[in-house]
């Protein structure tokens, strides 16, 4: 199942460029040399250039309350969280495909050398095995941190997640549980990931009582939320926006700290429209809020949902009660997407306050395409258009 990913990434991980290195594109050193030697092919030709990133990462204010900080990108913040966990919890183990040498996205670099090969190890290439194995570790009470190489390849483990992990505590009357299991997986679009390196499968799991689903937007938040997932007494799925692995850089506390689950964060207060998103899309929405302010004089309240399940209904409804309008945006396809859940709940709770229909700007109901990605994603222009319509309703 993950064979395609391995093919793509083996070379990427060993050479300088990698699939998530959006600023440099995909030219490897050798490829670049060959391209430049070729008289007919100029890599700098305008028509050949890749599409620019669809968002601008904006760092959060540096947290001061947790002591010393260090400049980290998202993948380094993940490593830092894993490092903290292995240091303080002797039962904790990390496993998955290719995690031993540091992972295809470098999230586990150095951990095997520091903590030993019985704590950071490769598994056979089999997702249902990885999650089943992780459940088993967690059943004994040890901390299991499993990696699925791409969220796109989590489906072979769907049965183990939905029928097993999610229902372990309930079905046994709390005799047994796998609460110390965390599943991490790279998530979301990456510019050129096509069908199987771009997916956002959170809504499939949102229909499954018993698991928690968490998605961060930045390095600081990623570390705090991941540490909370690992400590949480329930099986958690932690999706890491892979486009931010290298692109997002900010000051991250070196010591462990915890960002609470099931709590949305109001990033920007506003009075006219509520914007809800998670992951990379929060950065898109932040730009939309600025555009709305500049071009329309509209004041947007920006909310990062952070936890998809169980989600923070109160924060979102409180905001919509104030603004009277709601736009939810996600990369995943619109039909059956999590925006539908938010939208219908808000409609039930805030019916008397709503001044316009709730808008959903999402991916289209197609597989995630390769060359059409710039047209597929719910970018700031599509979101801005929705805000404009809502204001004029």
């Amino acid at each position: 199942m993950a064979a395609a990913a391995r093919f793509l990434l083996k070379s990427a991980a060993y050479s300088k460029a990698s699939i998530n290195n959006i600023t440099n594109g995909v030219y490897s050193g050798l490829g670049l040399t060959l391209l430049r030697l070729s008289p007919k092919c100029d890599p700098h030709a305008r028509t050949q250039k890749r599409h620019a990133a669809h968002f601008t990462f904006q760092p959060d204010p540096t947290p001061t309350e947790y002591g010393q900080t260090q400049k980290m990108n998202l993948f380094q913040a993940i490593t830092s969280a894993l490092d903290n966990t292995l240091a303080k919890d002797p039962t904790a183990v990390i496993f998955g495909e290719d995690v031993a040498f540091g992972g295809v996205f470098r999230c586990t670099v150095g951990l095997r050398d520091k903590y030993g090969q019985d704590r950071v190890f490769n598994t056979p290439l089999c997702e249902q095995g990885i999650v089943g194995f992780g459940i088993g570790i967690a059943v004994t009470g040890a901390t299991a941190i499993a990696e699925i190489q791409f969220a796109d390849y989590i489906y072979p483990a769907f049965d183990q997640i939905v029928n097993e992990a999610a229902k372990y505590r309930y079905r046994s009357g709390n005799l047994f549980d796998c609460g110390s299991l965390t599943i991490r997986a790279p998530w979301g679009c990456v510019g050129h990931g096509s069908l199987y390196h771009s997916q956002s499968p959170e809504a499939f799991f949102a229909h499954c009582p018993g698991v928690k689903i968490v998605i961060p937007r930045s390095p600081v938040q990623a570390k705090g939320l991941l540490l909370s997932c690992i400590e949480d007494k329930n099986p958690c799925i932690f999706f890491e926006p892979k486009i931010l692995y290298r692109a997002a850089v900010e000051q991250v506390p070196v010591e462990p700290y915890y960002t609470p689950l099931s709590q949305a964060e109001v990033l920007q207060e506003g009075s006219d429209v509520t914007l809800v998103a998670w992951g990379t899309q929060v950065h898109v929405m932040r730009e939309v809020a600025n555009m709305a302010q500049e071009k329309l004089g509209v004041s947007c309240e920006l909310i990062d949902l952070q936890t998809i399940l169980p989600w923070d209904t109160d924060t979102v409804c409180k905001s919509v009660t104030k603004t009277g309008r709601l736009l939810v945006s996600h990369e995943a396809p619109v039909t059956g997407g999590f925006a539908a859940e938010i939208s219908s709940t808000v409609q039930e709770e805030c019916f008397l306050n709503l001044e316009a229909p709730i808008a959903r700007v999402c991916g289209y109901d197609t597989p995630f395409p390769h060359i059409f990605e710039p047209f597929y994603i719910p970018d700031k222009w599509k979101c801005f258009e929705a805000v404009k319509k809502m204001i004029n309703y």
Partner: protein, 447 residues
Amino acid sequence: MAAAVFLKKFCRINLSKFVQNKNLYLKTRQSQCRSFRVNAALLQQPFDSADEKPQFPGASAEFVDSLEFIQPNVISGIPVYRVMDRQGQIINPAEDPQLPKEEVLNFYQTMTLLNTMDRILYESQRQGRISFYMTNYGEEGTHIGSAAALKPTDLVFGQYREAGVLLYRGFPLDRFMAQCYANADDLGKGRQMPVHYGSKEHNFVTISSPLATQIPQAAGAAYALKRENADHAVICYFGEGAASEGDAHAGFNFAATLECPIIFFCRNNGYAISTPTNEQYRGDGIAARGPGYGMMSIRVDGNDVFAVYNATKEARRRATAENQPFLIEAMTYRIGHHSTSDDSSAYRSVDEVNYWDKQDHPISRLRQHMVSRGWWDEEQERAWRKQSRRRVMEAFEQAERRLKPSLDLMFTDVYNELPPHLHRQRQDMWRHVKQHTEHYPLEQYDN
């Protein structure tokens, strides 16, 4: 000129990167069992194809110069290990486990008690008193023989036809009944279908319906217990049908590559509901798959409780000492229907069932053995039957009289805490039920 610059740049960036990664690669490879080293001497000598050795990292083998496919041996498969014959006579004294009389009596009484419980609960389902049941007829020997060879602290992962393991470990009859009746005494809080037993106290992980999911889980648990350095093994039971699931493949392969102290125990009873084994697989059963995963494997007579005991005992000893998985395939026959929702006469003959029930049954075989040693007679048999029947009936009647669990328990344990949305839904449920009490069987619940 330009080319030279690029070449220099290429060398500086990429070669250093390559060397660095190559070192990393070698370092990780060194720790693995089958390390790959090109024979330097071989490279320098004059070429002679007869001296060539395969250098592929994926396997350790010789070259062969004639085309020959490996043929599976299914006609004369892995032999079936047995200790006593159908008359209960020890065949090879060297293999006699020489268990004390009390232990053998305990084997027999647990197997027959399970059989008595099966008969009563099966009938109670026929009368509509419980919703569902699955008997263990014909497989009692596999449960008791293997359970007896384990330590009580060893963790058990099962499928659903291993109630004898739990019974052997001392799980009370009341609790079996409570689970099937889903009453307020059920440790599982009445949430699962009957026969989905579990007990923390007896280290028996709660059964779930999805087949084979427990197999990789058991491997994971064994890995964690290995790290604890305690003398713990894990045993994982499954049927030959479940072995066709992808999870079985995952579990076997993970257990072998990650060196887990685990015993995979396959109950090959010939059927997966209506599907006979020739529609389930074409190899030499399940045992033949073990070596393919690099796993020590054996096939035993599942109707011979001593053979099962011996194999499990040795597998446990070696699994914990050597941190490696073992596979035991116990050949047996599913005498009962698959479940109370199945009529097995629709797909197999009564004669076939009768052979196993009357002529090769684990209980009767052990009885003959005990009688031949003077440890058991007709009178003891009659008295024990009466006593076991009374014990089961007492537990049964008590379970039937008990109320169902509190309705509040429908919402707890989804998560370790009660999230706000579930709290609201529970309040909504109560509000609704109280307004419409006449439509709901509230009086049957312990609220």
